[in-house]
């Protein structure tokens, strides 16, 4: 191990008291083990199979500031954040940099027993409840997850008790606002007890002129018979690096549906791991990545079929323009005895220029025989025949191209259940292709 990690190891050692002083005991308790693990492994290198095409250590090399003192960001969130989904009724909360911030204007009444709030505050007020969940999945995560646990000081908790349905979407908006290079560590914990139901919309925005890096660890527990949708939309800037880890544990007969959309970004790595630990669980993980300039978008997924009779479906699509890079690695791991597993994965990629690069790596690891597993992956271009056909009918070439790209992306959007969000995304994607995203009026964020 050599390089950037040493700086962070020292930083952590020197500021341990400062970090702890602002945080609940539960958060502090987990730091030691993570520290030991991070010290042992350091940042992943390109020799690490999982990071072959995403040189992450370099991203940590900038002299970032970290808000370990928990200085309050002076931000009027609802004034700044206008890029909303029209007609979407939601319970909205913010993570500003890496601190929780409620949205007074949008506080709606939640069903009885549902907890939505600051991770740090709820870890203090409900230690026994969170104890069963906090860092239970991330403790076995990679070194970036350990890094996050070392430094994490706040984030969001959602707890939905058994037999409870949260009808309205819970919207968690992450914003970055600072005047220095910033490194943020965010943490989200989602607990759905048995037979409960919720929809979550994660919006990731950054607007600052300086470089920023955010690590995010999201731990999700989906109880027996529970049903959860998470839509994660990244609309950050070219100077933002995001390293997100989503860890999901599903119990019997639960449903989990995830859709991760990268519209604009700088350098992104999303690791999505779903463990199916109860019979009859179903999971669907999907992604859409649109890249141009020198954007780097990496989605690594693992679906861990640990028990029989579970189903998983996966669809990831990339559209890469200019000098952008796409990385997709999806593994389906079928454990011994996970019989009657049905697992399907599809990855389709469009490279629009000769400077765009795609690295695709679908993987199957199968230890049970009575299974239906398949994956398919393609890299190609827009269909020339279709383009010509459209041109012949009078559609300009550029327009035809947009239409085809839009259709290509549409397959992923179709997996979204919230109609207003789906409509909004269709518009955003169209704008994105026309190069109009980031030019919308009325919003201070997207200047």
């Amino acid at each position: 191990m050599m390089g950037n990690e040493q700086e962070y190891i020292e930083l952590f050692g020197q500021n341990r008291e400062l970090i702890d002083s602002a945080c609940a005991e539960l958060l502090n308790r987990e730091r030691e083990q993570s520290f030991a693990r991070f010290k042992a492994s350091g940042f992943p290198t390109r020799k690490d199979e999982e990071w072959r095409n995403t040189p992450i250590a370099k991203q940590f090399g900038i002299n970032y500031g970290m808000n370990l003192k928990r200085a309050e960001a002076n931000m009027n969130t609802s004034a700044i954040f206008h890029c909303d989904v029209p007609n979407l009724k939601s319970h909205r909360v913010y993570i500003v940099n890496d601190s929780y911030s409620p949205d007074e204007g949008h506080s709606r009444e939640l069903p009885q027993g549902v907890i939505l709030g600051s991770l740090n505050a709820i870890a203090g007020s409900h230690p026994t409840l969170l104890d069963k969940y906090y860092n239970r999945l991330a403790c076995d995560g990679d070194s970036i997850a350990q890094f996050n646990t070392m430094f994490a000081q706040d984030g969001v908790v959602l707890y939905v008790p058994r037999n409870t349905v949260v009808e309205e979407t819970i919207q968690i908006v992450s914003l970055i606002q600072a005047n220095v290079e910033m490194l943020l560590n965010r943490r989200i914990l989602i607990i759905l007890e048995e037979n409960s139901k919720a929809n979550i919309l994660l919006c990731d925005h950054s607007s600052q002129e300086k470089q920023s890096l955010s690590t995010l660890v999201t731990e999700v527990f989906v109880g027996a018979g529970a049903s959860l949708n998470i839509y994660d939309i990244e609309e950050t800037a070219n100077n933002n690096t995001r390293v997100a880890t989503l860890l999901v544990k599903q119990e019997a007969d639960s449903h989990f549906n995830h859709c991760c959309i990268t519209l604009t970004n700088g350098f992104t790595r999303n690791s999505t791991n779903v463990a199916l630990t109860g019979r009859g669980a179903e999971t669907s993980i999907n992604g859409l990545a649109i890249g141009d300039k020198t954007q780097h978008i990496d989605n690594h997924t693992l679906v861990d079929h640990k028990v029989p009779d579970c189903t998983s479906n996966e669809l990831y699509k990339y559209i890469l323009d200019e000098s952008s890079t796409g990385v997709f690695a999806g593994k389906m791991h079928i454990h011994p005895d996970a019989q009657r597993t049905a697992s399907q994965q599809t990855n389709r990629n469009l490279c629009l220029t000769n400077c765009a690069q795609m690295y695709a790596q679908p993987q199957l690891e199968i230890y049970a025989d009575d299974v239906k597993c398949s994956h398919g992956s393609t890299v190609g271009q827009l269909d020339e025949n279709a383009l010509f056909y459209m041109q012949q009918r009078g559609i300009p070439a550029d327009e035809a191209r947009h239409l085809l790209m839009y259709a290509f992306a549409g397959e992923v959007i179709e997996n979204i259940d919230i109609v207003p969000l789906k409509e909004r995304l269709h518009i955003l994607i169209e704008k994105r292709f026309r190069g109009e995203l980031g030019k919308c009026k009325g919003c201070n964020l997207c200047k």
Binding site: E49, N53, P336, D337, Q339, N349, C351, L352, T353, N354, A356, Q357, M358, Y359, A360, Q361, P362, Q363, L364, E365, I366, Y367, A368, D369, D370, V371, K372, C373, S374, H375, G376, S377, T378, V379, G380, Q381
Partner: protein, 481 residues
């Protein structure tokens, strides 16, 4: 069902029919590896100085390297000092200095079905027979020579055609390429050398038969095939080894150069001893095979049927350098008992309008692990590259594993690359249908597996295809309980 299991067990024990040991006087050097060992091998082979330097450079580099760990394999530590790096089964006849063939050795190859007398040859196949470290005999040399074709052992080629060997050896697989390539370059003993001159279609199938006989030896053969402009050759390779409790190491290199408009077909039926039903013994098969399609419109086709070896680590690859060049990889890999295989291919698209096809059929049974690993890389200037890959796995039983690890690295936007993978098992319905027509379960599995692999078997020359079919059935005996 109980009764059946006993029969299956008996069958399993007789499965490896090439497991006999031949009693042949063999000149084996002491085990251990050092610069002196390499000098000794080079001296025994009476090699020129440049060859010794070539070996020593590789050896020194090897010392700095580590065993690769990335494969989905559990490889026990190998003691490279416990292996003997040279075993020569040919007796030296002091009077005429020519080596003569021990009658036992002739018998060995007859038993393997490889007659070394030309009059017994199988439908026009010329054979180079390699036992342990030495090429025993090459048939039909004279006839081929008339067309300008050189087909000889590597040892002979170094003596007789040093200019060709020097020009091409190590240019496709550099000694720095990987751990086993470096080791092979340092200690390689023998193998086949083929040169097909411009405009010549080789009239016979050329074939090398490899046999490990001596105990505690490694086999490190080296094969070099050069197909000059507008030429064609079909080359076959077969291999077996005795049943021994210790593991034996086989680390070969095959280099192929394909020039303009030339075509090479390379077929392998690999049946090294796989170890017994408890996973004891067997050959470690760590092989680097690569072809360089240097010329425009050149074509290289790999076909492999892998049923043997305790551990297989092998990725026959194509560098598609010439414009319009084509690479193909057809593979059946069957693992049973405790066998492990991590095999596949690399297709490196460099030229324009290059095309590659990958068809891989894995069959896992018993407690074995079977992985496909393949890379398709389209470089920046490789306009209009096309690749199609299909990787299927068939699982027989719930104690084995079937894995697929494709890598697609695409740097050109005119590429169309497609990969598909599926897994399946033999359904109860299919077995019962066969049973109802009077076909026993064991035979039905053989039938269905051969049907599953047919797309690949069809690519093999006739005799090999028949052999391969039998091999698949025999290798699966005892796989179902």
């Amino acid at each position: 069902m109980k009764k059946k299991n006993n029969i299956l067990k008996k069958l399993a024990n007789k499965a490896y029919e090439f497991g006999f040991v031949s009693k042949i006087k063999t000149d084996i050097i002491e085990s251990g590896l050092s610069e002196d060992t390499i000098r000794l091998i080079s001296r025994k082979k009476n090699e020129p100085e440049w060859m010794l330097e070539f070996r020593l450079t590789a050896y020194r580099h090897w010392l700095t390297m580590e065993m690769p760990q990335w494969a989905h394999l559990d490889i026990p530590p190998i003691d490279y000092q416990a292996i003997s790096y040279y075993a020569d089964p040919l007796k030296k006849n002091k009077e005429n200095k020519n080596k003569e063939i021990d009658p036992e050795l002739m018998k060995t190859f007859e038993k393997l079905g490889i007659p070394l007398e030309e009059r017994l040859a199988l439908s026009g196949t010329a054979v180079d027979a390699v036992m342990d470290s030495v090429s025993v005999k090459t048939t039909f040399k004279e006839e081929l020579k008339e067309k300008g074709i050189i087909f000889s052992s590597m040892g002979e080629a170094i003596q007789e055609h040093p200019e060709l060997v020097r020009k091409y050896l190590g240019t496709v697989v550099n000694y720095r390429d990987n751990f086993f390539a470096a080791l092979n370059t340092a200690v390689f003993s023998d193998g086949s050398f083929v040169y097909i001159p411009k405009g010549v279609r080789c009239p016979r199938e050329l074939s090398t038969y490899f046999r490990i006989n001596a105990a505690n030896t490694g086999q490190f053969e080296r094969t070099l095939i050069i197909a000059d402009d507008n030429s064609y050759v079909s080359y076959l390779e077969g291999c077996t080894a005795p049943m021994r409790d210790e593991n034996q190491l086989h680390a070969a290199i095959v280099e192929i150069v394909v020039n303009e408009n030339a075509e090479v077909k390379y077929s392998t039926v690999q049946n090294w001893y796989p170890g017994d039903a408890e996973g004891k013994g067997g050959v470690y098969n760590f092989v680097t095979k690569r072809g360089d399609c240097r010329g425009n419109n050149s074509k290289l086709s790999w076909t492999q049927v892998e049923t043997g070896s305790a551990i297989t680590w092998k990725y026959p690859s194509c560098i598609l350098r010439g414009d319009n060049s084509q690479g193909e990889f057809y593979s059946v890999a069957l693992t049973n008992n405790y066998q492990q295989a991590d095999t596949g291919t690399k297709m490196i698209h460099l030229g324009k309008n290059t095309k590659s096809t990958i068809i891989s059929k894995g069959i896992s049974a018993g407690k074995s692990q079977n992985s496909y690993r393949g890379l398709v890389r389209v470089s920046k200037n490789a306009d209009n590259a096309r690749n199609y890959s299909q990787c299927d796995s068939l699982l027989l039983g719930d104690k084995c594993g079937a894995h697929t690890f494709p890598y697609m690295d695409i740097h050109n936007n005119s590429a169309i690359v497609e990969h598909e993978a599926t897994t399946s098992k033999i359904s109860e319905d299919q077995l019962f249908y066969c049973n109802q027509r009077g076909i026993g379960t064991e035979e039905a599995i053989g039938l269905i597996v051969n049907g599953y692999a047919r797309e690949v078997l069809n690519k093999l020359p006739m005799e090999f295809a028949v052999e391969a079919q039998k091999l698949l059935s025999v290798s699966l005996e005892g796989a179902v309980g």
